[in-house]
C-alpha cells in the first residue's frame, strides 16, 4: 500500500465522506431478532472457538491429523495392554454383573486340539476312591470321594475351555506358586475350584478340601 499512498490518501479524502453520508441514511435496526437456528449455529461456533484445543482442530487437515494420531495411540495402547495381560496371566477374565467369563490367553496354535495324552492326579490323598470316569476327544473327567470329601478332576483342550463363574456367590483370585505357575482359584465358601494351564491342556480340580491342598493336587497331576 505504501507504493500508492498518495492515491490512497486522495481517494479516501474524496470517497470516505460519501460513505459517511450514505451510512447516515441507513437506518440500523437495533431491535433485530436473530432466528433460533442462527443463534444456535453462532453459539456452536463461539463455543467451539473457546475450547482449549481449538487450534489443533480448526482446519480439516488438522482434524484429520488429530484423528489419525488418536487412532494410532488407541491401537498402540490396546496392543500394549494385551501384551501385559499375556505376560502376567494364563487366564483372562471378562467380569459381568452376575458372572465372570474366563478364557485362556494365547493362541490356539500353541495347544493340541484333541486329548493326545491323559493326565491324572499322581498321588490321591489317603482314603479317596474313584467313583466315576469319562474320557472323550476333548476332555477327561474323573470323580473321587472319601466320605463327605470329594475331588473332581477335569482335563480339557484349550479350544473347549470357556467357563463362566458365578461371581455373586464366590470370589475369584489368581494364585502363583514358587515355581511361577499360575492358578485361578474360585472360592465358593464350601469348595474350591482351581484351574490352571499346564502348557498343553487346561486342568480343573474342584474339591471341598483346603485351598492349598486343592492346589497341591493340581501340582501333582502327571501323564497317565
Amino acid at each position: 500500500m505504501n507504493e500508492f499512498s498518495i492515491l490512497a490518501k486522495a481517494l479516501g479524502e474524496v470517497f470516505e465522506p460519501q460513505i459517511d453520508e450514505f451510512m447516515q441514511t441507513v437506518e440500523l435496526k437495533s431491535d433485530y431478532v436473530f432466528s433460533n437456528k442462527y443463534k444456535r449455529k453462532i453459539n456452536k461456533l463461539i463455543k467451539r472457538r473457546e475450547k482449549p484445543y481449538f487450534k489443533l482442530i480448526c482446519t480439516t487437515s488438522r482434524r484429520i491429523v488429530c484423528t489419525a494420531a488418536a487412532v494410532i495411540i488407541i491401537l498402540a495402547s490396546a496392543l500394549s495392554v494385551e501384551a501385559v495381560c499375556e505376560a502376567i496371566h494364563d487366564f483372562l477374565m471378562n467380569i459381568f454383573k452376575g458372572h465372570t467369563a474366563v478364557f485362556v490367553s494365547g493362541t490356539i496354535e500353541d495347544y493340541p486340539t484333541v486329548i493326545e495324552e491323559e493326565y491324572e492326579i499322581a498321588h490321591l490323598p489317603e482314603g479317596f476312591e474313584q467313583i466315576d470316569y469319562h474320557a472323550d476327544k476333548l476332555s477327561v473327567f474323573a470323580m473321587y470321594v472319601n466320605n463327605d470329601k470329594y475331588i473332581s478332576f477335569q482335563q480339557m483342550v484349550y479350544d473347549n475351555f470357556n467357563v463362566n463363574f458365578d461371581n455373586s456367590h464366590s470370589e475369584i483370585e489368581y494364585y502363583t506358586d514358587n515355581q511361577g505357575q499360575e492358578y485361578l482359584v474360585q472360592d465358593t465358601g464350601h469348595s474350591y475350584c482351581v484351574t490352571y494351564n499346564n502348557g498343553r491342556y487346561v486342568i480343573k480340580i474342584i474339591s471341598n478340601l483346603d485351598k492349598y491342598e486343592t492346589i497341591d493336587l493340581c501340582k501333582d497331576t502327571k501323564i497317565k
Binding site: 507504493e3 492515491l7 481517494l11 479516501g12 463461539i46
Partner: protein
Amino acid sequence: MERYIVVTVENASFDIYNNEKRYGKKVPLDDNFSDLTDESLSNRDYAEIVRCIKELSYTDQEILYLRINFGLKHNEIADTLHISNAAARKRLQSARENLIALLEKEEIYRE
C-alpha cells in the same frame, strides 16, 4: 451479539493479517497501475489529484477505493459489489484509464 461481532472482526483481521503476511506489505496489483504510484504522482500537486478523483463517477471512485485502499482482489471486489469477476476487472480498468486521462488533461491545462 457482542461476542458474535468479536468473532467476525477477529476472523476479518486474521484474513487481512494472513494476506499481508503472504504478499508482504505491498498489495500486488496485477493491473497496470504504474502511472499511479507515489513515484509517478510525486511531481503533481495533491489538490490536483483530489480534483481529478472528484471528477470521476461514483462507480469509478468506489472500485478504485476498494482496490487501492482496501487492497481487494478482483474476485473480492466482484463479491462485494455483486457483479461478475470479468465485470469487476473491466470496471477497474475503465476507472484507472479515466483517472489517468483526467490527470493528463490537468497536466495539459497546467502547461
